[in-house]
Symmetry: C2
Subunit: 499 residues, 2 copies
């Protein structure tokens, strides 16, 4: 068992998100964070400039360094070689090795090289799941696990941290299997290995499945890395699912193509009349000026903007976590892209797990902003509690639709009839719990969709009927009744026409 | 008639928003824009620093200048006095004069003073609608109109621009009346006069009523100013309604109170652990550092950030206008605050006017993101066209629910039966117009709420029944039918329980 080389202290939580302090070899960074990918042979932005701009960690490729500048890096150490005093993560270059079909290096060699150059965190020589077939995915998992076992002998006695990539691509059962095996080997940090194909397809719902299937297996005390994901639009969601580390070359690759990052996508530099951003680059230069620059200058400036934009997103997400407003943040944020919205809804599938792990109490109160609010952990948790809740073994109950008053309360108390109030999205809430958390701290800021109200009311009635011999409904507010009647008539008319 | 002193060229349009070039006295600014309010006796940020940071126009208070530094400003001119080469708007100080009950200055004097100091744009000595009573509102309108008439004699022969404030507060009929009278006097720029109380209450739906009631009267060739509104959260909506100029002291007033602007509100500086922004201030300083500074330095830095943030919002809005994506922008943006959402929905009331003024065609295509998309001008316009559309005087028609194929088309053609396809939110679309704009360019990126589908289907059927003797419904896709049946059963069950 490796232990204590990487310290990870969780300081704040919201949903499955955490703000953490990750410490290794005397260096500390705050998570969630994005590690800019530095290609040692094409540094769009120099590591020193990253450092000056507040990036405390980066990731680079050990294999590329080994291949071309081995002696120099070994002699000077990676920090001096890159001129970067922060935390340096080295990827093993597994992807490149596979891609170029090279067999010129063994895992032992690349592990020893990462140790030798003084990286702070390294990666074993895993086999990324490429392509789409299940066979390939299975093979990549098996080989990665074999290599992970073989690696233990070397990595065990080092003072650096090690990442254990969990392969399986979009095959959820395989990911779970891989996670279970990798978890046994207790790496410092785990990584969801190969989301690239899924991300390129904007298949965010599957990404939710992938992350959560790993998350359910790996202990929450380990940081979780999501390889190759750095698009601002999806970072908040990934953080909410419990990802702590991201790396991405997108800032530089986009810059190479004159693509300028915005909250929700990219714009082509040629199309921009005015930069819709306030970062130092965008406040200093005009799009036309940047367009006329030398390619290397232009790339550098766009890359910097792209990084700032990504960092801004993470800062906003962190701010939301600190205020326990991450759910609200995502409700607004995910409206920008249908696939993100679907991904957010996909989380509903994992309600039980999320509700169990997520912090349940907040002094801040809860906003019900849309139908998706019905699935926030506090609401799910409270509904579960309601299922178990039954004060005494009474035979009768009343469900009030609308507000209750003292007279109703007293009457029911005297008649020994349990009293419930219909409160969507919670459902049938015992009158005694109306002021309890979270119900008492919930502000319903929107008219919920009719469908949600009908579903919730139907559920509430069914729920009470199961518990009581006699359920009476007391309509104190005619609004819902009128709504139901209208829909009843409309749907009937339409259905008759359809016959 | 004053003419030609202020040139206003509209270069882009979306909904009622415009990107314009406003030119006066040789100075040109691009609208929509925010004029930072400069208090001559307490400059949180010096005008020169505003200029250096890309603010090409500001607004200051002529009355305060007159009161304390009259000779000096007259001698040097306002641009030299403030050390600001950009466009300077002077408010007449009507508000201060009322507030402090001063009668020491006449309208003629303050008009001549604004002319004398060389302001680029001035305001007459209007009477802002304060308080809540209708009587007060009526009085402020009457007096403002009298003064506006009296002012003509002096302002007519100047080379500067003049703003005609339209009073009435939240009283829509009074605003309309005032707008009608003021419009006759042909000021260069009109202003919605007194939204302050409404804004302080976050009563954005009423703000929509106010702006549009003025907008319907004032010619679109005039720029429209919204006094005292500068909160990032509502700027996009106000621009979409046709406001071109904003002024706000909020950046400085908030800074005075250590309040830091975000997209959706303010944070107290003491509460911030990390600035969730990438502006030069937020990238240079940490919240704790700013907190420890001298009050004047702290105020200046927060005020600058607050201005950058506001400017960023306007830049994003402009970017959306250029891409004809303002509606989509607002659909996402207004989810952040229920009152903003309600305000966006309030626009529906003005569908006819908006549809008539808004550009109808875009090569970009249309995204249906939520139920509110049903009200975008292109959808409303197309539905209106459908109402008028009827190829021949046929007796029978078929409404297809689901996709149509060639066989169905040919059969209906032969049998001389008009063929419609149900396409929410458009309703019953003639099969011949399925590829026409905007239908053919519409991407429905979400499952519309059940309620919207039912409404739309009911409307479609009613619409066809009015036009044809015989309407047949052909269900090619069972999904909607199943949905309707489910709802039918659920609502019936609930209603029975309610009896």
């Amino acid at each position: 068992m490796r232990d204590g080389r990487v310290e990870f202290e969780i300081v704040r939580k919201d949903i499955l998100a955490r703000i953490g302090k990750l410490k290794v070899k005397g260096k500390t960074i705050e998570t969630p964070t994005l590690l800019p990918v530095i290609n040692p042979w094409k540094m769009t932005i120099k590591p020193k400039e990253l450092w000056r701009n507040g990036f405390k960690a980066l990731i680079t490729n050990a294999y590329l360094l080994w291949k071309r500048d081995r002696e120099d890096v070994l002699r000077n150490g990676i920090h001096s070689y890159l001129n970067f005093p922060g935390m340096i993560v080295t990827d093993s270059g597994a992807y490149q090795i596979l891609k170029y079909g090279s067999i010129e290096i063994t895992q032992d060699e690349i592990l020893n090289f990462q140790i030798g150059i003084g990286a702070d965190i390294g990666v074993i020589l895993d086999i990324p799941t490429r392509g789409e077939s299940r066979e390939e995915a299975e093979k990549s998992i098996e080989e990665t696990i074999v290599r992970a076992r073989e690696a233990q002998r070397i990595i065990q006695d080092t003072d650096m941290g090690w990442i254990g990539p969990i392969q399986g691509g979009g095959y959820i059962d395989l990911l779970e299997k891989a996670a279970t095996e990798m978890e046994k080997m207790s790496f410092d940090i785990y990584a969801v290995g190969s989301p690239t194909i899924i991300l390129e397809r904007y298949d965010y719902p599957t990404l939710v499945d992938m992350i959560l299937s790993v998350k359910r297996v790996v202990k929450p005390s380990h940081p979780l890395h999501l390889f190759g994901a750095g698009h601002p639009a999806m970072l908040g969601l990934a953080v909410a699912l419990g990802c702590d580390l991201f790396d991405s070359a997108a800032y530089a690759l986009f810059a190479y193509d004159n693509r300028y990052l915005t909250e929700n996508g990219t714009l082509r530099l040629e199309e921009i009349e005015e930069f819709p951003c306030v970062c130092p680059i965008c406040r200093t230069y005009k799009p036309k000026e940047v367009l006329k620059m030398e390619k290397s200058d232009r790339e550098r400036l766009i890359a910097l903007h792209n990084l700032f934009k990504t960092q801004e997103e993470l800062r906003r997400v962190k701010e939301s976590i600190r205020r326990r407003r991450l759910w609200e943040y995502l409700e607004v944020r995910t409206t920008s892209h249908p696939s993100l919205r679907d991904a957010f809804k996909r989380m509903v599938k994992y309600n039980d797990f999320i509700e169990q792990e997520a912090p349940q109490w907040s002094e801040k109160g809860i906003f019900i902003l849309s139908d998706i609010s019905s699935y926030r952990p506090e609401v799910v948790g409270f509904r579960k509690k309601l299922e178990r809740y039954r004060k005494r073994r009474r035979r009768r109950c009343t469900l009030v639709i609308g507000e209750i008053n003292e007279e109703i309360k007293i009457r029911h108390y005297k008649e020994k009839v349990d009293l419930y109030v219909f409160k969507p999205p919670y459902g049938a809430v015992p009158s005694t719990l109306l002021e309890a958390y979270p119900m008492g701290k919930t502000e319903i800021t929107t008219s919920l969709p009719t469908h949600t109200i009908i579903e919730s009311l139907k559920e509430a009635i069914d729920f009470l009927k199961e518990k009581y011999n006699e359920v009476r409904i007391l309509v104190e507010n005619e609004e819902i009744k009128t709504l139901l009647k209208e829909i009843q008539i409309k749907t009937r008319t339409i259905l008759e026409e359809m016959k």
